[in-house]
Structures are given as structure tokens and as C-alpha cells.
């Protein structure tokens, strides 16, 4: 009896111990789905308290004393990235202009971005004569961009290499590499912006802080001009010098951004969840799948939309050094499966805006495939916001998308409505 009790007790102890002894680490496990939601909650990259603090910085309305302007577009990141939650999209557009001389695109004096606002009426930017290339650009979603940043550049290059074979040679996404500011200009596969101007979220934050809000910072220390005329500190239009030492390292010049808000912006975007699917999504992530959405999803792939609007991409493993060595993929963002419905490559689908930024003249009439995740939150679509209904926006695709659109045209009205229902569930 005693021996029996003793044996039972030892077995009980062993049962307690075994799970601990054989539990392995998360390293080496398979890729998992990235968290999704429009819920203002962290994806795990930072604590909720840090996320909330960074969101406050992202939503902060800056004024002239903080460095706003002299020319700018908005007072806050969240003015353009807000619907339905901070970090997402809005209907707000920016204006770009320049001139095509028959061979090359030439920037408008002061750069292709025409800032819509100024702190003084005398320096308001306007499109000058002779700059016949003009376009609007809608504000992009930043939710889930931390996962996008953690896609290995080689993954994007591989997608580009595969496209001609998938499309009979009609589709060939252009992969470009752009400088990473925080890595001394090291090149990396571009993925952010309508023209794929940026590869890292810190570089993107720095660029936007200067160009959209007029606040110089560690990586962009020179104010924008007004139609080519200097309006920075010393001109009489800008009371804030561009030489504040960084709070974290006084030896470094942080321009008008001593608190390094750009770091908070990047951290906020890295911590956002990917957009959540709508009710009835075919993947079952939001209730029971709607049969019409399931059918539309299948059609989306069958007719070729998914060649560019790539459905699933897995991020680089945790611990991978990216952004020219300036960022290590954290566990919260590494080895995650995302469904951006984009290849993050440049294509000519007949809607090109004629503007050249980081990609060279060959990209003049190309645009990055916009990720369709969260597209149901938009009423105005395409780069210029001119698409007011889904069918018309699909039909605007031409060029590389010609064959795919011909497949779409061959669908029945029922099938087209199913495909559109699928789009409206994204």
C-alpha cells in the first residue's frame, strides 16, 4: 500500500515536471498568422502603454513653435491616417507636379510635391506654368506596415521574377532599391509609398515629417522651399532653427525634432496590427464565410488579379537584420503570414501619374501595386482617388493588366458582383 502511494506521488511529480522539461522555445516553429484588427491594440511589438504613448505622438497637432512649416500639408500624421482608426487611411490627397520634356520628367521648382498649406500667405506654393504633369495621391494605410517592413527584399525580388512566367510575359513588376536613411544610405528593396520611395519605416517617418508637416529631423535637416525659394530659418518665414540636439544623444543634430518624434512614429506603425477582414471573409477570420465572397475570392485568383495583388507573404524570421543593419526583426513581426494583396512592386497598368521619385525615369508611368487589405474602408480608390466604384476602378487597369481585365470582362454579372463583394470584404 505504501509503495503504491509512493509510486502515485512520484508519478504525479513526474507529470508536473515533464511538460517543463520538454517545452521547446518558439524558435523553429512554423510561420503564424499576423494579428489583425482595427482595435487600437498593439501587435505585441511594444507594450500597450508604449503603443498608446506613441499613438499620442502620431496624433499630436504640431504648431509653428514646434517647427510646423513654413510649407506643409497637415498638422498631424493622424490627419491623413485616421479612418477608421489612427494609422489607417483618409480621403486626403497630396498634389504633385512637374514637367515632361519629351525624354525625362523634370521636378517642379522646389520639388514635385506642392504643399497645400503655408504658415504665411506670401509663401503659399502653387503649380507654376510649364508644369503640365499634375497628379493627386491619396493617403495610404500604414496599419500592418511593421510586417511589410520585415519582408525580406529577396522575397519581393522573387515575386518580380516569377510574374512574367505567370502571365505569359505580360506582367513584370519592377523591383527597385532605395536608400535607408538610418543606415547611411544603404540600399534596400523599396516597399512604401505610391512610387515605392521608401524601404524602412524610420526613413518613411523622417521623409513624411519634413514633406507633409515641414518639420526637419535627424535625417532631413533642410526645410522645403516654396516653389524653389528658400523659406527656412533666417528667411523671416521660419522662427525655428534646424539645429536642436537630439535628446537621446546631444552630439547629433535633430533639426526641429529634438524629441525624435520620428522614432515614435516608426515604433507606432511597427506595432499596429494588420487590417482585419470584414464579415463573411472566405478565410473564416470574421464569422462564417459568405459563399459569394468565397466565390469572388476564387475568381480573384482565377482571372489573375493575385499575380500582382499577392495574397500571402511571410515575413523574415525573427532575428534577421534588415534596413541595412539598422533594425533586427523582432519576434512579434518575424515569421508572420500577412495578406496584403500586393507585391510591393512598380507596374504600368495605364494609370501612371508621370511623376519620378526614387526609382529613376523608367518608373515615370508606374505605380506600386496598392495593398488591398482594408480597401473596404475607402470610398475613393486608385492613386488619385478617381475611382468611385469598384467596377470602374477595375476597368481603369490596362497596360500590364490588359489580359487580367479581359478575363474580368468575360465574367458574368453575377461573378463580377461576387468578385466586388470579395473586394468589399477586404
Amino acid at each position: 500500500m505504501r509503495m503504491l502511494k509512493l509510486s502515485v506521488l512520484l508519478l504525479f511529480a513526474a507529470a508536473l515536471v515533464l511538460p517543463f522539461a520538454f517545452t521547446s522555445t518558439v524558435e523553429g516553429q512554423g510561420a503564424t498568422e499576423a494579428p489583425r484588427g482595427f482595435d487600437n491594440l498593439t501587435n505585441g511589438f511594444v507594450t500597450q502603454a508604449q503603443f498608446d504613448a506613441d499613438k499620442d505622438v502620431f496624433e499630436e497637432r504640431d504648431d509653428i513653435a514646434k517647427g510646423l512649416g513654413p510649407v506643409y500639408n497637415t498638422q498631424s500624421c493622424a490627419e491623413c491616417h485616421q479612418n477608421p482608426v489612427t494609422g489607417a487611411i483618409s480621403q486626403i490627397t497630396e498634389l504633385r507636379a512637374g514637367h515632361f520634356n519629351g525624354v525625362n520628367f523634370v521636378d517642379h521648382p522646389g520639388g514635385s510635391l506642392i504643399n497645400d498649406r503655408a504658415t504665411n500667405p506670401e509663401i503659399q506654393e502653387r503649380v507654376l506654368g510649364g508644369n503640365e504633369v499634375r497628379t493627386f495621391r491619396t493617403s495610404l494605410n500604414t496599419l500592418g506596415d511593421g510586417f511589410v517592413e520585415c519582408i525580406d527584399s529577396n522575397t519581393l525580388a522573387a515575386i518580380a521574377n516569377a510574374q512574367p512566367g505567370q502571365s505569359g510575359g505580360q506582367i513584370a513588376g519592377q523591383f527597385i532599391q532605395v536608400p535607408v536613411a538610418e543606415a547611411n544610405g544603404a540600399l534596400r528593396g523599396a516597399r512604401f509609398g505610391w512610387k515605392n520611395q521608401q524601404a524602412s519605416l524610420l526613413s518613411f517617418s523622417s521623409d513624411a515629417y519634413l514633406n507633409e508637416m515641414g518639420i526637419t529631423n535627424r535625417f532631413n535637416l533642410v526645410e522645403n522651399t516654396s516653389n524653389g525659394t528658400f523659406v527656412g530659418f533666417g528667411s523671416g518665414f521660419d522662427p525655428v532653427p534646424d539645429n536642436a540636439p537630439c535628446a537621446s544623444n546631444p552630439a547629433v543634430n535633430c533639426g526641429e525634432d529634438p524629441d525624435e518624434d520620428i522614432v515614435a512614429f516608426a515604433r507606432f506603425m511597427r506595432a499596429t496590427k494588420a487590417p482585419k477582414r470584414g464579415p463573411g471573409a472566405e478565410d473564416g477570420s470574421n464569422g462564417a464565410p459568405n459563399p459569394d465572397i468565397v466565390a469572388g475570392s476564387n475568381l480573384f485568383s482565377q482571372i489573375g488579379c493575385a499575380i500582382c495583388h499577392v495574397r500571402s507573404i511571410t515575413t523574415a524570421p525573427a532575428g534577421t537584420s534588415i534596413n541595412g543593419g539598422a533594425f533586427i526583426v523582432p519576434a512579434a513581426l518575424g515569421n508572420k503570414i500577412i495578406h496584403p494583396l500586393s507585391d510591393f512592386l512598380l507596374h504600368n497598368v495605364g494609370t501612371g501619374d508621370g511623376i519620378v521619385q526614387n526609382g529613376g525615369q523608367s518608373t515615370r508611368n508606374k505605380l506600386r501595386t496598392p495593398p488591398l487589405w482594408g480597401v473596404r474602408t475607402r470610398d475613393r480608390i486608385m492613386h488619385d482617388g478617381e475611382g468611385l466604384n469598384r467596377n470602374e476602378s477595375i476597368l481603369r487597369h490596362d497596360g500590364e493588366a490588359n489580359g487580367v481585365i479581359n478575363n474580368y470582362n468575360a465574367l458574368s454579372a453575377t461573378q463580377k458582383n461576387q468578385l466586388i463583394l470579395f473586394l468589399n470584404s477586404l
Binding site: K5, L6, L9, L10, A13, L16, V17, A21, L95, I114, N115, D116, R117, Q124, E125, R126, V127, G130, E132, R134, F136, D152, S153, N154, A157, Q174, Q177, R188, G189, A316, P317, G319, T320, S321, I322, G325, I328, G350, T351, G360, S362, R364, N365, M382, E386, L388, N391, L395, R396, D398, G399, N402, G403, I405, N406, N409, A413, K416, N417, I420
Partner: protein, 244 residues
């Protein structure tokens, strides 16, 4: 019953087992090494500048070709007026397009006005381009969806694809325009228009050739702005070409 000593011994053994089991096993010594880096992507082969190829010299269209091209997309939804058409590169992609006057076929209005039709239906006179002289402005209200009536005279613009242009069976992108034609349409090359208006700032941004005509008593032209066809009356300041 166990004696107290045995019970204590048993508890002690259990505690030791739990402690040993739960303790994290010592990690094997690791050599200090940098994290694996994203492999460097070889520089992309520079892509040649995308310059629109000059529109290939193509033979003049025949009425049958025009009728066939329209039927390829519209099937029997419209009736083609094969006497009134014009060709040019209206969207500026280097491929020849065709514009042709049509009328709705009897009983086909439901098809023509379908929200999932294979054409983009619009009224170029309702498209108000932004004022390029103003940096900040309220955009024009979005016009109500265009609806075709049986008595309407319409203009089909069929965008070409590749060297064969609108004759290419793969060319399907098309606009169906209401209030866009009174019948007499002509194609004018963009270069001609730019030359006639050299130094003037009133001209809109042109991507390609234009379709000139008179709507009512007013001359002007239709041009493609990248997403829509827009009516530009010459009274806005551009040198009239329709009257020449």
C-alpha cells in the same frame, strides 16, 4: 501511514524534482555572432526608359473593322454609325485608339447602364478638373452616375493595346461617353495642339491626341486626363482647333 520523516523525505524529493525540472536548462555556449542579415539583393538590371513608341503607321480603318471592334466589347448593345469615327492615340500609351459615334440599340438600356458593364460610362461635360492656379481648393462635387437614354447619341472610345492598336483582339478598355458628340468628330495630334497654344497656360495637361468637335455652338475638344475623358471648351482660352 507514512512516518513524518518519510513524508518529509518524499516532499523533499518532489520539491527537488520540480526545481530541477522547471529550471531552464543551461543554453549551450554560443559564439558571439551578428544576427543573420537580409541577403543583399543583386542590383536590378536597369529598366530601359519607358518611352511611348510612336504609333505605328497603320492602314486607314475600314467600316467593317470599326464595327467589329465595337462589337467585340459592346456586342449588340449599341448601333455603330460607321460613317463617323476618328483614330488617334487618345490616352497617350503609344497604341492607336478609335473613337466612333454610336446609338443605344433598342431594348439594351439595361445592359448599357449596368453597374458591372465592360465599359466606363461617363459624361465629359460633368468632369470638372481642378483649378491648377489654386493650391488649395474645394473639389467639384462628384456628379451623379451617368445614365443613357434611348435617344442619346454616344461616343465610344476604344483604347488600343500593342502595335495593332484598337484592332488588336486583346484591346478592350473602352469609355462610353454621353453628351460628348454632336456627330462631327476629328482627331488632332497632341503636338499640333501644343504648338498652336505655345506659351499659353490655359491648356490642360494632355496625355495624348484629342477629339475635336463642336458641342452646341461651341468648339472644343475631348481629352483624356488619366482616368476620364474631359470636355474642354475653347472658351477657356486654348486655341480653337475644331473651327479650323
Amino acid at each position: 501511514m507514512f512516518s513524518r520523516a518519510k513524508t518529509l523525505l518524499l516532499l523533499g524529493v518532489t520539491l527537488v524534482l520540480l526545481t530541477v525540472g522547471c529550471a531552464k536548462a543551461p543554453e549551450p555556449p554560443r559564439a558571439v555572432q551578428p544576427p543573420p542579415a537580409e541577403a543583399v539583393v543583386p542590383p536590378a538590371t536597369p529598366t530601359a526608359d519607358v518611352k511611348p513608341e510612336p504609333v505605328a503607321k497603320l492602314p486607314p480603318p475600314t467600316q467593317d473593322e470599326v464595327r467589329g471592334a465595337v462589337a467585340r466589347i459592346y456586342k449588340d448593345a449599341v448601333v455603330v454609325d460607321t460613317n463617323r469615327f476618328a483614330v488617334g492615340d487618345f490616352n497617350g500609351d503609344g497604341s492607336q485608339d478609335v473613337a466612333v459615334v454610336v446609338t443605344p440599340a433598342a431594348g439594351m438600356l439595361g445592359e448599357i447602364n449596368s453597374e458591372v458593364a465592360n465599359w466606363i460610362l461617363e459624361d465629359p461635360q460633368k468632369i470638372v478638373p481642378p483649378d491648377s492656379k489654386k493650391a488649395t481648393q474645394r473639389l467639384a462635387p462628384v456628379p451623379a452616375p451617368t445614365r443613357v437614354a434611348q435617344s442619346d447619341v454616344l461616343l465610344v472610345v476604344l483604347h488600343g493595346h500593342g502595335p495593332l492598336g484598337w484592332r488588336n483582339p486583346e484591346s478592350r478598355q473602352t469609355y462610353l461617353l454621353k453628351n460628348a458628340t454632336a456627330g462631327g468628330i476629328r482627331s488632332h495630334q497632341m503636338t499640333t495642339l501644343l504648338k498652336a497654344n505655345s506659351g499659353k497656360t490655359a491648356l490642360p495637361k494632355l496625355r495624348g491626341d484629342v477629339i475635336s468637335e463642336k458641342l452646341g455652338a461651341e468648339p472644343g475638344f475631348l481629352y483624356y486626363n488619366g482616368s476620364k475623358y474631359v470636355w474642354y471648351p475653347s472658351s477657356r482660352g486654348a486655341e480653337s482647333i475644331a473651327s479650323k
